[in-house]
Protein backbone atom coordinates (compact mmCIF):
# COMPACT_ATOMS: atom_id res chain seq x y z
CA UNK A 1 0.00 0.00 0.00
CA UNK A 2 1.03 3.53 -0.71
CA UNK A 3 3.22 4.75 2.17
CA UNK A 4 2.10 8.37 1.92
CA UNK A 5 -1.55 7.35 2.13
CA UNK A 6 -0.87 5.34 5.29
CA UNK A 7 1.14 8.16 6.87
CA UNK A 8 -1.48 10.83 6.23
CA UNK A 9 -4.24 8.66 7.63
CA UNK A 10 -2.19 7.69 10.69
CA UNK A 11 -1.29 11.30 11.36
CA UNK A 12 -4.91 12.40 11.12
CA UNK A 13 -6.01 9.63 13.47
CA UNK A 14 -3.36 10.61 16.02
CA UNK A 15 -4.34 14.25 15.76
CA UNK A 16 -7.99 13.36 16.31
CA UNK A 17 -7.10 11.33 19.40
CA UNK A 18 -4.95 14.21 20.69
CA UNK A 19 -7.79 16.71 20.26
CA UNK A 20 -10.30 14.44 22.02
CA UNK A 21 -7.92 13.92 24.94
CA UNK A 22 -7.27 17.66 25.14
CA UNK A 23 -11.01 18.30 25.07
CA UNK A 24 -11.48 15.91 28.00
CA UNK A 25 -8.64 17.59 29.91
CA UNK A 26 -9.98 21.11 29.35
CA UNK A 27 -13.58 20.21 30.15
CA UNK A 28 -12.54 18.33 33.26
CA UNK A 29 -10.49 21.30 34.54
CA UNK A 30 -13.31 23.72 33.68
CA UNK A 31 -15.92 21.70 35.48
CA UNK A 32 -14.62 22.39 38.97
CA UNK A 33 -12.17 21.08 41.49
CA UNK A 34 -11.85 17.28 41.20
CA UNK A 35 -10.53 17.10 44.79
CA UNK A 36 -13.71 18.63 46.14
CA UNK A 37 -15.61 15.90 44.37
CA UNK A 38 -13.33 13.35 45.96
CA UNK A 39 -13.22 14.52 49.58
CA UNK A 40 -16.36 16.66 49.83
CA UNK A 41 -16.77 20.38 50.62
CA UNK A 42 -16.21 20.15 54.35
CA UNK A 43 -12.81 18.47 54.26
CA UNK A 44 -10.05 20.31 56.19
CA UNK A 45 -7.66 22.38 54.10
CA UNK A 46 -4.62 20.19 54.77
CA UNK A 47 -6.48 17.12 53.48
CA UNK A 48 -7.37 19.00 50.31
CA UNK A 49 -3.74 20.11 49.99
CA UNK A 50 -2.55 16.56 50.47
CA UNK A 51 -4.74 15.19 47.67
CA UNK A 52 -3.95 18.15 45.48
CA UNK A 53 -0.25 17.38 45.78
CA UNK A 54 -0.87 13.66 45.41
CA UNK A 55 -2.65 14.07 42.08
CA UNK A 56 -0.33 16.80 40.87
CA UNK A 57 -3.00 19.47 40.85
CA UNK A 58 -0.72 22.01 42.55
CA UNK A 59 1.59 22.11 39.54
CA UNK A 60 1.37 24.56 36.60
CA UNK A 61 -1.41 23.75 34.12
CA UNK A 62 1.01 22.78 31.36
CA UNK A 63 2.80 20.31 33.60
CA UNK A 64 -0.60 18.87 34.56
CA UNK A 65 -1.35 18.45 30.89
CA UNK A 66 1.82 16.46 30.35
CA UNK A 67 1.16 14.40 33.50
CA UNK A 68 -2.34 13.71 32.23
CA UNK A 69 -0.97 12.23 29.02
CA UNK A 70 1.62 10.23 30.96
CA UNK A 71 -1.17 8.85 33.11
CA UNK A 72 -3.24 7.80 30.11
CA UNK A 73 -0.21 6.19 28.50
CA UNK A 74 0.19 4.10 31.66
CA UNK A 75 -3.50 3.28 31.75
CA UNK A 76 -4.06 5.46 34.82
CA UNK A 77 -7.30 7.39 34.38
CA UNK A 78 -8.06 8.21 37.98
CA UNK A 79 -9.93 6.54 40.81
CA UNK A 80 -13.64 5.88 40.70
CA UNK A 81 -14.87 7.82 43.72
CA UNK A 82 -17.85 5.55 44.15
CA UNK A 83 -15.95 2.40 45.01
CA UNK A 84 -12.37 3.77 45.26
CA UNK A 85 -11.07 1.48 42.56
CA UNK A 86 -9.06 2.20 39.45
CA UNK A 87 -11.51 3.73 36.94
CA UNK A 88 -10.09 1.82 33.99
CA UNK A 89 -10.50 -1.50 35.84
CA UNK A 90 -14.14 -0.69 36.59
CA UNK A 91 -14.74 -0.04 32.90
CA UNK A 92 -12.76 -2.99 31.61
CA UNK A 93 -14.58 -5.56 33.72
CA UNK A 94 -17.83 -4.42 32.07
CA UNK A 95 -16.36 -4.49 28.57
CA UNK A 96 -16.86 -8.21 27.74
CA UNK A 97 -20.62 -7.87 28.34
CA UNK A 98 -20.91 -4.90 26.01
CA UNK A 99 -18.79 -6.55 23.34
CA UNK A 100 -20.79 -9.76 23.55
CA UNK A 101 -24.08 -7.91 23.13
CA UNK A 102 -22.67 -5.52 20.53
CA UNK A 103 -21.05 -8.14 18.32
CA UNK A 104 -24.07 -10.46 18.33
CA UNK A 105 -26.42 -7.59 17.42
CA UNK A 106 -23.94 -6.46 14.82
CA UNK A 107 -23.99 -9.93 13.25
CA UNK A 108 -27.79 -9.84 13.49
CA UNK A 109 -28.01 -6.55 11.59
CA UNK A 110 -25.52 -7.72 8.96
CA UNK A 111 -27.32 -11.01 8.35
CA UNK A 112 -30.70 -9.26 8.21
CA UNK A 113 -29.80 -6.02 6.48
CA UNK A 114 -27.46 -6.86 3.64
CA UNK A 115 -29.41 -9.76 2.09
CA UNK A 116 -32.62 -7.73 2.40
CA UNK A 117 -31.01 -4.79 0.64
CA UNK A 118 -29.64 -6.93 -2.17
CA UNK A 119 -32.97 -8.71 -2.66
CA UNK A 120 -34.75 -5.34 -2.76
CA UNK A 121 -32.29 -3.98 -5.32
CA UNK A 122 -32.65 -7.02 -7.56
CA UNK A 123 -36.45 -6.72 -7.41
CA UNK A 124 -36.52 -2.97 -7.79
CA UNK A 125 -39.95 -1.30 -7.75
CA UNK A 126 -41.82 -4.52 -7.09
CA UNK A 127 -44.03 -5.20 -4.10
CA UNK A 128 -41.14 -7.13 -2.52
CA UNK A 129 -38.89 -4.08 -2.81
CA UNK A 130 -41.48 -1.80 -1.26
CA UNK A 131 -42.20 -4.23 1.54
CA UNK A 132 -38.52 -4.66 2.36
CA UNK A 133 -37.83 -0.95 2.30
CA UNK A 134 -40.94 -0.26 4.35
CA UNK A 135 -39.53 -2.64 6.94
CA UNK A 136 -36.16 -0.90 6.75
CA UNK A 137 -37.64 2.57 7.32
CA UNK A 138 -39.66 1.14 10.20
CA UNK A 139 -36.51 -0.44 11.63
CA UNK A 140 -34.34 2.63 11.75
CA UNK A 141 -37.12 5.04 12.69
CA UNK A 142 -38.25 3.23 15.81
CA UNK A 143 -36.22 4.59 18.74
CA UNK A 144 -34.41 1.73 20.46
CA UNK A 145 -35.74 2.65 23.92
CA UNK A 146 -39.29 2.33 22.59
CA UNK A 147 -38.63 -0.90 20.68
CA UNK A 148 -37.13 -2.33 23.86
CA UNK A 149 -40.22 -1.43 25.87
CA UNK A 150 -42.55 -2.85 23.22
CA UNK A 151 -40.57 -6.10 23.26
CA UNK A 152 -40.70 -6.25 27.06
CA UNK A 153 -44.46 -5.67 26.97
CA UNK A 154 -44.96 -8.37 24.35
CA UNK A 155 -42.55 -11.10 25.43
CA UNK A 156 -42.21 -10.59 29.17
CA UNK A 157 -45.54 -9.19 30.29
CA UNK A 158 -47.91 -10.68 27.76
CA UNK A 159 -46.44 -13.93 26.44
CA UNK A 160 -44.20 -14.46 29.49
CA UNK A 161 -41.49 -16.25 27.53
CA UNK A 162 -38.42 -14.01 27.85
CA UNK A 163 -36.75 -12.36 30.87
CA UNK A 164 -36.81 -8.55 30.79
CA UNK A 165 -33.50 -7.85 32.51
CA UNK A 166 -30.14 -9.30 33.42
CA UNK A 167 -27.57 -11.27 31.48
CA UNK A 168 -27.62 -14.80 32.90
CA UNK A 169 -28.48 -16.91 29.86
CA UNK A 170 -28.89 -16.94 26.09
CA UNK A 171 -32.57 -16.09 26.64
CA UNK A 172 -31.52 -12.81 28.27
CA UNK A 173 -29.74 -11.82 25.09
CA UNK A 174 -32.57 -12.17 22.59
CA UNK A 175 -34.47 -8.95 23.26
CA UNK A 176 -31.41 -6.71 23.69
CA UNK A 177 -29.93 -8.10 20.47
CA UNK A 178 -33.11 -7.49 18.49
CA UNK A 179 -33.45 -4.01 20.00
CA UNK A 180 -29.88 -3.06 19.22
CA UNK A 181 -29.71 -4.79 15.84
CA UNK A 182 -32.95 -3.63 14.24
CA UNK A 183 -31.91 -0.03 13.55
CA UNK A 184 -28.62 -1.23 12.10
CA UNK A 185 -30.40 -3.80 9.94
CA UNK A 186 -32.75 -1.10 8.58
CA UNK A 187 -30.05 1.35 7.62
CA UNK A 188 -27.76 -1.39 6.24
CA UNK A 189 -30.63 -2.69 4.08
CA UNK A 190 -31.24 0.75 2.62
CA UNK A 191 -27.58 1.31 2.08
CA UNK A 192 -26.98 -2.08 0.50
CA UNK A 193 -29.94 -1.52 -1.81
CA UNK A 194 -28.76 1.87 -3.05
CA UNK A 195 -25.14 0.86 -3.58
CA UNK A 196 -26.27 -2.32 -5.37
CA UNK A 197 -28.61 -0.29 -7.60
CA UNK A 198 -25.85 2.12 -8.44
CA UNK A 199 -23.57 -0.71 -9.55
CA UNK A 200 -26.32 -2.50 -11.49
CA UNK A 201 -26.71 0.62 -13.65
CA UNK A 202 -23.04 0.63 -14.63
CA UNK A 203 -22.08 -0.15 -18.21
CA UNK A 204 -19.81 -3.05 -17.24
CA UNK A 205 -22.85 -4.91 -15.96
CA UNK A 206 -24.56 -4.28 -19.27
CA UNK A 207 -21.40 -5.43 -21.05
CA UNK A 208 -21.39 -8.63 -19.01
CA UNK A 209 -25.02 -9.16 -19.87
CA UNK A 210 -24.31 -8.61 -23.57
CA UNK A 211 -21.43 -11.06 -23.35
CA UNK A 212 -23.89 -13.67 -22.16
CA UNK A 213 -22.73 -13.98 -18.54
CA UNK A 214 -25.43 -15.78 -16.55
CA UNK A 215 -27.45 -13.64 -14.11
CA UNK A 216 -26.16 -15.29 -10.94
CA UNK A 217 -22.53 -14.83 -11.96
CA UNK A 218 -23.23 -11.28 -13.06
CA UNK A 219 -24.59 -10.45 -9.63
CA UNK A 220 -22.14 -12.44 -7.55
CA UNK A 221 -18.96 -11.79 -9.51
CA UNK A 222 -19.41 -8.43 -11.23
CA UNK A 223 -21.86 -6.46 -9.12
CA UNK A 224 -21.40 -7.53 -5.48
CA UNK A 225 -17.66 -6.80 -5.05
CA UNK A 226 -18.18 -3.28 -6.39
CA UNK A 227 -21.28 -2.71 -4.31
CA UNK A 228 -19.36 -3.92 -1.24
CA UNK A 229 -17.03 -0.91 -1.22
CA UNK A 230 -19.41 1.66 0.33
CA UNK A 231 -20.97 -1.02 2.52
CA UNK A 232 -17.57 -1.71 4.12
CA UNK A 233 -17.36 1.94 5.23
CA UNK A 234 -20.71 1.83 6.94
CA UNK A 235 -19.85 -1.45 8.65
CA UNK A 236 -16.66 0.08 9.98
CA UNK A 237 -18.50 3.04 11.46
CA UNK A 238 -21.02 0.71 13.09
CA UNK A 239 -18.25 -1.31 14.69
CA UNK A 240 -16.77 1.83 16.16
CA UNK A 241 -20.21 2.72 17.48
CA UNK A 242 -20.54 -0.49 19.52
CA UNK A 243 -20.20 1.09 22.95
CA UNK A 244 -22.11 4.29 22.22
CA UNK A 245 -24.94 2.43 20.54
CA UNK A 246 -25.44 0.22 23.56
CA UNK A 247 -26.04 3.01 26.10
CA UNK A 248 -29.82 3.08 25.83
CA UNK A 249 -30.39 -0.62 25.17
CA UNK A 250 -28.25 -1.69 28.12
CA UNK A 251 -30.21 0.65 30.36
CA UNK A 252 -33.59 -0.65 29.16
CA UNK A 253 -32.66 -4.28 29.77
CA UNK A 254 -30.44 -3.71 32.83
CA UNK A 255 -27.58 -5.30 30.91
CA UNK A 256 -24.38 -4.96 32.99
CA UNK A 257 -22.21 -3.37 30.31
CA UNK A 258 -20.21 -0.20 29.71
CA UNK A 259 -23.21 1.74 28.39
CA UNK A 260 -25.18 1.28 31.57
CA UNK A 261 -22.08 2.03 33.63
CA UNK A 262 -21.77 5.32 31.73
CA UNK A 263 -25.37 6.28 32.52
CA UNK A 264 -25.06 5.47 36.21
CA UNK A 265 -21.67 7.23 36.40
CA UNK A 266 -23.09 10.37 34.76
CA UNK A 267 -25.98 10.20 37.22
CA UNK A 268 -23.66 10.02 40.23
CA UNK A 269 -21.03 12.28 38.58
CA UNK A 270 -18.29 9.69 38.87
CA UNK A 271 -16.00 11.73 36.64
CA UNK A 272 -13.03 9.35 36.49
CA UNK A 273 -15.20 6.55 35.12
CA UNK A 274 -16.88 8.89 32.61
CA UNK A 275 -13.46 10.09 31.49
CA UNK A 276 -12.18 6.53 31.08
CA UNK A 277 -15.22 5.56 28.99
CA UNK A 278 -14.95 8.70 26.86
CA UNK A 279 -11.30 7.98 26.11
CA UNK A 280 -12.04 4.34 25.40
CA UNK A 281 -14.85 5.23 22.98
CA UNK A 282 -12.75 7.87 21.25
CA UNK A 283 -9.93 5.39 20.74
CA UNK A 284 -12.28 2.69 19.40
CA UNK A 285 -13.81 5.17 16.97
CA UNK A 286 -10.45 6.49 15.78
CA UNK A 287 -9.08 2.99 15.27
CA UNK A 288 -12.26 1.86 13.51
CA UNK A 289 -12.16 4.86 11.16
CA UNK A 290 -8.50 4.16 10.44
CA UNK A 291 -9.23 0.52 9.64
CA UNK A 292 -12.10 1.56 7.36
CA UNK A 293 -9.77 3.90 5.48
CA UNK A 294 -7.22 1.14 5.00
CA UNK A 295 -9.74 -1.51 3.98
CA UNK A 296 -11.34 1.02 1.70
CA UNK A 297 -8.06 1.84 0.01
CA UNK A 298 -7.25 -1.83 -0.26
CA UNK A 299 -10.62 -2.77 -1.80
CA UNK A 300 -10.75 0.19 -4.15
CA UNK A 301 -7.39 1.19 -5.67
CA UNK A 302 -8.92 4.41 -7.05
CA UNK A 303 -9.25 5.84 -3.55
CA UNK A 304 -5.72 5.31 -2.32
CA UNK A 305 -4.36 6.87 -5.50
CA UNK A 306 -6.60 9.93 -5.46
CA UNK A 307 -6.40 10.58 -1.73
CA UNK A 308 -2.64 10.30 -1.82
CA UNK A 309 -2.52 12.89 -4.57
CA UNK A 310 -4.77 15.49 -2.99
CA UNK A 311 -4.86 15.99 0.71
CA UNK A 312 -8.51 15.38 1.46
Amino acid sequence: MNLRFVCIKLLRAMLTALIVLTFVFVVLRLSGDPIENLVGDEAPADVVEYYRAKYGLDRPIFEQYVLYFQGIAHGDMGISFRDQRDALDVVIERLPNTLRLGLVSFAFSLLMGIPLGIVAALNRNTALDRFTMGFAVFGYSIPNFFLGIVLILAFTMWLRVLPSSGSGSVWHMIMPVVTLGTAGAGSLARFARSSMLEVLNKSYILAAKAKGVPRLRRIGWHALPNAAIPIVTIIGFRLGDLIAGSVVTETVFAWPGVGRLLVTSVGSRDLAVVQAILILVAFTMVIANLLVDFIYGWVDPRIRVSSALEKD
Binding site: R12, L15, T16, I19, V20, F23, V24, V27, L28, L30, S31, V137, F138, Y140, S141, I142, P143, F145, F146, I149, V150, I152, L153, M157, S194, L197, E198, D241, I243, A244, G245, V247, V248, T251, V252, L262, V263, S265, V266, G267, R269, D270, L271, V274, Q275, I277, L278, V281, A282, M285, V286, N289
Partner: protein, 292 residues
Protein backbone atom coordinates in the same frame (compact mmCIF):
# COMPACT_ATOMS: atom_id res chain seq x y z
CA UNK B 1 -37.85 9.24 -12.13
CA UNK B 2 -37.57 11.75 -14.94
CA UNK B 3 -35.96 15.14 -14.80
CA UNK B 4 -39.20 17.08 -15.10
CA UNK B 5 -40.42 15.55 -11.86
CA UNK B 6 -37.63 17.27 -9.98
CA UNK B 7 -38.27 21.02 -9.91
CA UNK B 8 -35.98 23.16 -7.81
CA UNK B 9 -37.03 25.40 -4.98
CA UNK B 10 -39.48 24.75 -2.21
CA UNK B 11 -42.67 25.99 -3.86
CA UNK B 12 -45.42 23.41 -3.75
CA UNK B 13 -48.07 24.28 -6.29
CA UNK B 14 -51.56 23.04 -5.32
CA UNK B 15 -52.16 21.29 -8.64
CA UNK B 16 -49.06 19.19 -8.02
CA UNK B 17 -50.50 18.04 -4.72
CA UNK B 18 -52.48 15.34 -6.49
CA UNK B 19 -49.22 13.69 -7.52
CA UNK B 20 -47.98 13.30 -3.97
CA UNK B 21 -48.26 9.84 -2.54
CA UNK B 22 -50.91 9.43 0.15
CA UNK B 23 -48.17 8.23 2.49
CA UNK B 24 -46.23 11.49 2.26
CA UNK B 25 -49.43 13.49 2.69
CA UNK B 26 -50.36 11.47 5.78
CA UNK B 27 -46.92 12.07 7.25
CA UNK B 28 -47.06 15.79 6.54
CA UNK B 29 -50.52 15.83 8.12
CA UNK B 30 -49.24 14.05 11.22
CA UNK B 31 -46.31 16.44 11.57
CA UNK B 32 -48.73 19.33 11.22
CA UNK B 33 -50.76 17.83 14.04
CA UNK B 34 -47.65 17.53 16.23
CA UNK B 35 -46.72 21.16 15.57
CA UNK B 36 -50.30 22.20 16.28
CA UNK B 37 -50.24 20.28 19.57
CA UNK B 38 -46.92 21.91 20.48
CA UNK B 39 -48.17 25.40 19.67
CA UNK B 40 -51.51 25.14 21.46
CA UNK B 41 -50.67 22.68 24.26
CA UNK B 42 -51.95 25.04 26.96
CA UNK B 43 -55.28 25.54 25.17
CA UNK B 44 -55.78 21.92 24.14
CA UNK B 45 -54.77 20.26 27.39
CA UNK B 46 -57.83 19.44 29.50
CA UNK B 47 -55.80 19.76 32.73
CA UNK B 48 -52.52 21.26 33.83
CA UNK B 49 -49.71 18.77 33.27
CA UNK B 50 -48.74 18.75 36.95
CA UNK B 51 -52.29 18.61 38.33
CA UNK B 52 -52.63 15.49 40.49
CA UNK B 53 -55.70 13.43 41.20
CA UNK B 54 -54.61 10.96 43.85
CA UNK B 55 -57.92 9.09 43.85
CA UNK B 56 -57.49 8.27 40.16
CA UNK B 57 -53.96 6.89 40.00
CA UNK B 58 -52.83 4.54 37.19
CA UNK B 59 -56.29 4.56 35.57
CA UNK B 60 -56.48 3.12 32.04
CA UNK B 61 -57.51 5.25 29.04
CA UNK B 62 -61.26 5.92 28.93
CA UNK B 63 -61.73 3.73 25.83
CA UNK B 64 -60.31 0.81 27.83
CA UNK B 65 -62.74 1.27 30.67
CA UNK B 66 -61.03 4.10 32.56
CA UNK B 67 -62.80 7.20 33.89
CA UNK B 68 -64.36 9.32 31.14
CA UNK B 69 -62.47 12.52 32.00
CA UNK B 70 -59.05 10.90 31.31
CA UNK B 71 -58.97 10.14 27.60
CA UNK B 72 -55.51 8.51 27.71
CA UNK B 73 -55.56 7.42 31.35
CA UNK B 74 -53.54 8.71 34.30
CA UNK B 75 -50.04 8.13 35.67
CA UNK B 76 -48.76 7.14 39.11
CA UNK B 77 -49.74 10.51 40.62
CA UNK B 78 -53.10 10.66 38.88
CA UNK B 79 -51.89 13.20 36.34
CA UNK B 80 -53.71 13.27 33.00
CA UNK B 81 -51.57 11.43 30.40
CA UNK B 82 -53.15 13.37 27.50
CA UNK B 83 -52.28 16.75 29.05
CA UNK B 84 -48.78 15.57 29.86
CA UNK B 85 -48.42 14.28 26.31
CA UNK B 86 -49.37 17.67 24.85
CA UNK B 87 -46.93 19.54 27.09
CA UNK B 88 -44.30 16.85 26.48
CA UNK B 89 -44.68 17.36 22.73
CA UNK B 90 -44.28 21.10 23.24
CA UNK B 91 -41.07 20.76 25.23
CA UNK B 92 -39.59 18.13 22.90
CA UNK B 93 -40.44 20.09 19.75
CA UNK B 94 -39.19 23.41 21.12
CA UNK B 95 -35.93 21.89 22.35
CA UNK B 96 -35.41 20.08 19.04
CA UNK B 97 -36.16 23.16 16.92
CA UNK B 98 -33.93 25.39 19.04
CA UNK B 99 -31.16 22.79 18.94
CA UNK B 100 -31.39 22.24 15.20
CA UNK B 101 -31.46 25.99 14.48
CA UNK B 102 -28.44 26.63 16.72
CA UNK B 103 -26.55 23.80 15.02
CA UNK B 104 -27.52 25.01 11.54
CA UNK B 105 -26.47 28.62 12.26
CA UNK B 106 -23.13 27.69 13.87
CA UNK B 107 -22.33 25.08 11.23
CA UNK B 108 -23.28 27.21 8.23
CA UNK B 109 -21.38 30.21 9.60
CA UNK B 110 -18.23 28.15 10.26
CA UNK B 111 -18.56 26.60 6.80
CA UNK B 112 -18.58 30.08 5.25
CA UNK B 113 -15.65 31.14 7.44
CA UNK B 114 -13.67 28.07 6.40
CA UNK B 115 -14.36 28.66 2.72
CA UNK B 116 -13.57 32.36 2.96
CA UNK B 117 -10.42 32.30 5.11
CA UNK B 118 -8.87 29.09 3.75
CA UNK B 119 -5.46 28.19 5.13
CA UNK B 120 -4.99 27.52 8.81
CA UNK B 121 -8.50 28.57 9.89
CA UNK B 122 -10.04 26.18 7.38
CA UNK B 123 -7.77 23.36 8.55
CA UNK B 124 -8.71 24.00 12.18
CA UNK B 125 -12.45 24.05 11.46
CA UNK B 126 -12.30 20.91 9.34
CA UNK B 127 -10.26 19.19 12.05
CA UNK B 128 -13.01 20.00 14.55
CA UNK B 129 -15.53 18.59 12.08
CA UNK B 130 -13.52 15.38 11.84
CA UNK B 131 -13.26 15.08 15.60
CA UNK B 132 -16.96 15.57 16.13
CA UNK B 133 -17.77 13.09 13.39
CA UNK B 134 -15.36 10.59 14.97
CA UNK B 135 -16.89 10.46 18.44
CA UNK B 136 -20.57 9.47 18.86
CA UNK B 137 -22.38 12.53 20.05
CA UNK B 138 -24.43 10.74 22.70
CA UNK B 139 -21.18 10.00 24.55
CA UNK B 140 -19.98 13.62 24.32
CA UNK B 141 -23.38 14.83 25.51
CA UNK B 142 -23.34 12.43 28.46
CA UNK B 143 -19.80 13.48 29.37
CA UNK B 144 -20.66 17.19 29.27
CA UNK B 145 -23.74 16.54 31.43
CA UNK B 146 -21.57 14.59 33.89
CA UNK B 147 -18.89 17.27 34.08
CA UNK B 148 -21.14 20.32 34.29
CA UNK B 149 -24.36 18.99 35.77
CA UNK B 150 -27.72 19.50 34.15
CA UNK B 151 -29.54 22.71 33.34
CA UNK B 152 -32.06 23.52 30.63
CA UNK B 153 -29.77 26.09 28.97
CA UNK B 154 -26.85 23.68 28.86
CA UNK B 155 -29.13 20.97 27.56
CA UNK B 156 -30.33 23.13 24.65
CA UNK B 157 -26.75 24.14 23.85
CA UNK B 158 -25.81 20.45 23.75
CA UNK B 159 -28.68 19.86 21.32
CA UNK B 160 -27.28 22.69 19.18
CA UNK B 161 -23.77 21.27 19.09
CA UNK B 162 -25.22 18.02 17.78
CA UNK B 163 -24.92 18.02 14.01
CA UNK B 164 -23.22 21.38 13.37
CA UNK B 165 -20.41 19.52 11.63
CA UNK B 166 -22.72 18.38 8.83
CA UNK B 167 -23.68 21.95 7.97
CA UNK B 168 -20.08 23.14 8.18
CA UNK B 169 -18.82 20.44 5.84
CA UNK B 170 -21.69 20.90 3.39
CA UNK B 171 -21.49 24.71 3.36
CA UNK B 172 -17.73 24.80 2.93
CA UNK B 173 -17.85 22.44 -0.03
CA UNK B 174 -20.69 24.23 -1.73
CA UNK B 175 -19.31 27.72 -1.13
CA UNK B 176 -15.94 26.69 -2.55
CA UNK B 177 -17.55 25.42 -5.70
CA UNK B 178 -20.06 28.31 -5.93
CA UNK B 179 -17.28 30.92 -5.62
CA UNK B 180 -15.90 29.85 -8.96
CA UNK B 181 -19.28 30.09 -10.69
CA UNK B 182 -19.92 32.92 -13.10
CA UNK B 183 -22.47 34.74 -10.95
CA UNK B 184 -20.22 34.91 -7.90
CA UNK B 185 -17.25 36.05 -9.95
CA UNK B 186 -19.45 38.66 -11.64
CA UNK B 187 -20.77 40.08 -8.36
CA UNK B 188 -17.29 40.15 -6.89
CA UNK B 189 -15.89 41.99 -9.90
CA UNK B 190 -18.67 44.56 -9.50
CA UNK B 191 -17.12 45.33 -6.13
CA UNK B 192 -19.54 43.64 -3.69
CA UNK B 193 -18.08 42.90 -0.28
CA UNK B 194 -17.87 39.28 0.96
CA UNK B 195 -20.91 39.65 3.24
CA UNK B 196 -23.03 40.63 0.27
CA UNK B 197 -21.66 37.92 -2.01
CA UNK B 198 -22.16 35.21 0.59
CA UNK B 199 -25.42 36.41 2.10
CA UNK B 200 -27.30 37.67 -0.93
CA UNK B 201 -25.93 35.53 -3.74
CA UNK B 202 -24.35 32.27 -2.61
CA UNK B 203 -26.54 31.47 0.42
CA UNK B 204 -29.83 31.44 -1.57
CA UNK B 205 -28.19 29.15 -4.10
CA UNK B 206 -27.10 26.58 -1.56
CA UNK B 207 -30.16 26.92 0.66
CA UNK B 208 -32.02 23.90 -0.69
CA UNK B 209 -29.22 21.51 0.26
CA UNK B 210 -29.07 23.11 3.71
CA UNK B 211 -32.81 22.66 4.14
CA UNK B 212 -32.45 18.97 3.28
CA UNK B 213 -29.68 18.73 5.87
CA UNK B 214 -32.01 20.43 8.35
CA UNK B 215 -34.70 17.77 7.83
CA UNK B 216 -32.06 15.03 8.21
CA UNK B 217 -30.72 16.57 11.38
CA UNK B 218 -34.04 17.29 13.05
CA UNK B 219 -35.03 13.67 13.84
CA UNK B 220 -31.56 12.98 15.22
CA UNK B 221 -31.96 15.96 17.54
CA UNK B 222 -35.38 14.73 18.67
CA UNK B 223 -33.91 11.29 19.29
CA UNK B 224 -30.98 12.75 21.23
CA UNK B 225 -33.36 14.74 23.44
CA UNK B 226 -35.71 11.82 24.02
CA UNK B 227 -32.84 9.38 24.63
CA UNK B 228 -31.17 11.62 27.21
CA UNK B 229 -34.47 12.44 28.88
CA UNK B 230 -35.38 8.76 28.83
CA UNK B 231 -32.13 7.98 30.64
CA UNK B 232 -33.14 10.55 33.25
CA UNK B 233 -30.29 12.87 32.26
CA UNK B 234 -32.14 15.35 30.05
CA UNK B 235 -35.31 17.29 30.79
CA UNK B 236 -35.91 17.11 34.55
CA UNK B 237 -39.25 16.95 36.40
CA UNK B 238 -41.48 18.84 37.02
CA UNK B 239 -40.92 19.81 33.38
CA UNK B 240 -41.87 16.96 31.08
CA UNK B 241 -40.90 15.84 27.59
CA UNK B 242 -41.76 12.82 25.49
CA UNK B 243 -38.57 11.01 26.50
CA UNK B 244 -38.95 11.91 30.16
CA UNK B 245 -42.55 10.59 30.18
CA UNK B 246 -41.43 7.37 28.55
CA UNK B 247 -38.55 6.90 30.96
CA UNK B 248 -40.77 7.52 33.98
CA UNK B 249 -43.50 5.26 32.59
CA UNK B 250 -41.02 2.41 32.29
CA UNK B 251 -41.31 1.84 36.05
CA UNK B 252 -45.04 1.17 35.75
CA UNK B 253 -45.13 -1.18 32.75
CA UNK B 254 -46.83 -3.97 34.66
CA UNK B 255 -49.70 -1.89 36.05
CA UNK B 256 -50.03 0.90 33.51
CA UNK B 257 -48.42 0.27 30.15
CA UNK B 258 -50.12 3.34 28.59
CA UNK B 259 -47.91 5.81 30.47
CA UNK B 260 -44.92 4.62 28.45
CA UNK B 261 -46.63 3.52 25.25
CA UNK B 262 -48.49 6.80 24.55
CA UNK B 263 -45.36 9.01 24.36
CA UNK B 264 -43.42 6.14 22.75
CA UNK B 265 -45.85 5.83 19.87
CA UNK B 266 -45.82 9.62 19.46
CA UNK B 267 -42.01 9.73 19.23
CA UNK B 268 -41.97 6.80 16.83
CA UNK B 269 -44.64 8.21 14.49
CA UNK B 270 -42.93 11.61 14.52
CA UNK B 271 -39.48 10.29 13.62
CA UNK B 272 -41.03 7.94 11.05
CA UNK B 273 -42.96 10.79 9.42
CA UNK B 274 -39.90 13.02 9.36
CA UNK B 275 -37.84 10.22 7.77
CA UNK B 276 -40.42 9.68 5.05
CA UNK B 277 -40.98 13.38 4.36
CA UNK B 278 -37.22 14.00 4.52
CA UNK B 279 -36.51 11.25 1.96
CA UNK B 280 -39.13 12.69 -0.29
CA UNK B 281 -37.82 16.25 0.10
CA UNK B 282 -34.32 15.05 -0.60
CA UNK B 283 -35.43 13.36 -3.81
CA UNK B 284 -37.16 16.52 -4.94
CA UNK B 285 -34.55 19.08 -3.98
CA UNK B 286 -31.33 17.28 -4.67
CA UNK B 287 -31.32 15.14 -7.81
CA UNK B 288 -27.71 14.09 -7.29
CA UNK B 289 -28.64 12.21 -4.12
CA UNK B 290 -31.51 10.41 -5.74
CA UNK B 291 -31.82 6.70 -5.07
CA UNK B 292 -29.40 6.64 -2.14
Amino acid sequence: MTAEALPHGLRIAPRRLAKYSPLVLTCIGFLGLVLFAAAFADVLAPKHYTAQDLLNRLKPPSFLGGPAQYLLGTDELGRDVLSRLLYGIRVSVVVAILGTVIGAVIGTFLGFVAAHMRGLVEEAIMMMVDVQAAVPFLIIALAVLAFFGNSLTLFIIIMGINGWENYARLTRGMVLSASTHGYAVAVRSLGANPWRIYGRHILPNIASALIVQFTLNFPSTILLETSLSFLGLGIQPPLTSLGQMLGAGRNHLILAWWIAVVPGVTIFLTTLSISIVGDWLRDRLDPTLRGR
